[in-house]
Amino acid sequence: MKKISIIVLFVLAYSYLHAQDTYFIQNIKGIVKNGSNTVKKGDKIDATSKLTFTKGALLMVSSQKEGMKILPAKPVSSETAYTLADLLPKTNRASTRGNFIQNPKYFENYFGDGVYCVFGDETQVKVNLTDYPMNKDSYFSLRYDYNNEIVDKKLAFAGDQFVISKKELFSIKGKDIDSSEIAEFALHYHSGTKKSPNLVASFMPLFISVSQELKTEIGGMVAMFKEETPENRQKYFNDFRRSIATRIAAENAQMPDEYKENLNYWLEKNFDLKAE
């Protein structure tokens, strides 16, 4: 089973050097655990703490010995490399990513292997039915470990889309459960013709509630550019999309710097705004 990347810090060499150090947790992005407890802003931990980070998660701490630190620490270049790098010409890199799952290879790109943010309480994911037919015997499930028990949640579907719902995912036998207790989620595809399911992606779903103020603001913006020409509308949509994701991230401190999200689905569902 492919696991969500976990980074374990402190327990060895680092704790040896800084065993007496105290860390005040100033801010968190993503999900960080100290043993089995989720780390919260304002917590005080020491250097022997065993921390686990979901992919992309970050901690801002004030260390008694070193001042402000971001954990996990990034690899540090030597001052020689840093000085020489200053002499080299700077280059930029651009990247693109697909919006919907068209075939198997896009699963990993779509969910990544870190945090997948779901704006709102549910999202639908469109798949290619030729590769992933969905019916009574063939379906997707999200599997997780809760209190040492494996829970396998069959995901509802309609047509060529399956549904990830917060309510469905975080309830067992009709009772709500604490999602912070779950470290990883694995998306499986159950094929009616095969005995064992296929793991297609691992990620940590993070359900994000968007404030009414921001929704009202977005609604106003959408109304403003509905009158525009298709070319302008497309251009505005592209710019608008990124700025909305940034605004939502600013409202939600737990969102890590690196995440995938269902923004297109959310915009379409809430504002009838389609990516053209």
Binding site: F24, Q64, K65, M68
Partner: protein, 407 residues
């Protein structure tokens, strides 16, 4: 024989003259721009690539970044009328922080407040202020005898006093060469002490007086203007694996740490409050460096005696200058002769200009002076900045030729 004795006397006199000129050049607030490259790469090779430097203790300092702790306040025109808003460092936060420090004034060794308090801030009705943040800040400052504020000179060189007149202060201005900071002057205009000097006097209980081109401290002669050895650089604050302790004021006052924890956080350290990221960065030979860091480095140079004139440095310079003088007063310089006769140089087109004796003399002098400077840096960690002596040597050789003083 007489001529040989005369030559020795002239050589010694000239070496002394060069020594005096060197000290004078070293006291100038600027440097020869052509020498920058040598100083820059000499420093980088020695300090960074070869790692031949001893870093100051990381236990001595805590750098508190206020780059993003801002508030809006009225901008007044020359007549005192509000003409809009300006962004200043948040005085509420500073006041709160200093109030905490004031509960144990001796908890921290020293506090550098490298924030300029130029204009007053009034009551903010949105905060239901009953007392101006300036009063609160002032009251907190008065409880801290080891606090020193920085201030600047206006464009016309008059003093731009901070609004808190009776809080100890030190000048924090410096000059640049080709927009790059290189030299720090500890006393400006004969009598205006800078913050690092005042800090040194406070922390080490030492008297430092300016006498002519130099500073006198106990039995030591110090250079007043000095090519600063930047021991703590931006790299050490933001990139290095083992960084110097730095935090944002926002974090310290976030409530995550209670007052006791804050006092423990800064205990026994020199607290440096300044903008380390946005507005107060200066180009140096090591790249951008925060202004507050330059003040700290100037203090460290004083503390470590980097600008002290030692007998060994004096002897080294005198020996080098005596040798250069001796070569200058030779009728025919061996180097000139060798280059002019060199088939190698004759073959390479772009080096043919060196066959001109005047150019060659100039280049030769510049090279020997740069080598002297590099030797001083390698042996004594003192950057000299003496390239202007090239011109002096060029002239003195021609004067000697005119007076027929050549051997």
């Amino acid at each position: 024989m007489k001529k040989r004795i005369l030559l020795i006397i002239i050589t010694v006199i000239n070496a002394f003259l060069m020594l005096l000129l060197s000290f004078w050049l070293m006291t100038l607030p600027f440097n020869n721009g052509d020498e920058l490259l040598v100083i820059e790469w000499g420093s980088k090779i020695k300090k960074i690539f070869l790692g031949l430097e001893k870093k100051p203790s990381k236990e001595d300092f805590i750098f508190i970044n206020v780059a993003y702790d801002k508030q809006l306040t009225d901008k007044l025109d020359d007549n005192g009328f509000p003409i809009g808003k300006q962004v200043i460092t948040d005085r509420y936060k500073l006041g709160h922080f200093l109030e905490i420090l004031g509960k144990k004034p001796q908890n921290q060794k020293f506090i550098i407040g490298d924030v300029f308090f130029g204009d007053s801030v009034g009551l903010d009705p949105c905060r239901n202020d009953s007392i101006s943040p300036d009063f609160r800040l002032y009251a907190a400052m008065k409880k801290l005898p080891n606090l020193m504020l920085s201030y600047h000179l206006k464009e016309n060189d008059s003093i731009d006093y901070p609004i808190f007149r009776d809080i100890p202060r030190g000048l924090s201005d410096y000059t640049t060469t080709e927009d790059i900071f290189l030299k720090f002057q500890f006393v400006k205009y004969d009598s205006i002490p800078t913050l690092p000097l005042e800090m040194y006097k406070f922390l080490h209980k030492k008297e430092v007086k300016k006498e002519g081109l130099f500073l006198l401290s106990e039995m030591n002669v110090l250079l007043n203007t000095h090519i600063l050895d930047i021991k703590i650089r931006n790299y050490d604050l933001f990139v290095a694996e083992e960084k110097y302790k730095m935090d944002n004021l926002e974090n310290i006052l976030s409530g995550v740490m209670n007052e006791e924890a804050v006092l423990e956080y800064v205990k026994d350290r020199i607290i440096v409050i300044g903008d380390f990221e946005v507005t107060d960065n200066h180009k140096t030979i090591y790249g951008d460096t925060a202004g507050s860091l330059l003040l700290v480095n100037a203090y460290l140079n004083l503390r470590d005696g980097d600008n002290r004139l030692t007998v060994w440095l004096f002897l080294y310079l005198f020996s080098c200058y005596a040798l250069i003088s001796y070569l200058t007063f030779q009728k025919e310089k061996q180097l000139v002769k060798w280059v002019q006769e060199s088939k190698f140089i004759q073959k390479i087109k772009f080096l043919r200009f060196l066959r001109n004796p005047n150019i060659l003399d100039f280049v030769g002098n510049a090279t020997t002076l740069l080598l002297t400077s590099m030797g001083s840096f390698l042996l004594f960690d003192v950057q000299l900045g003496i390239l202007y002596l090239t011109l002096y040597l060029f002239i003195i050789r021609r004067v000697a030729g005119y007076l027929k003083l050549y051997e």
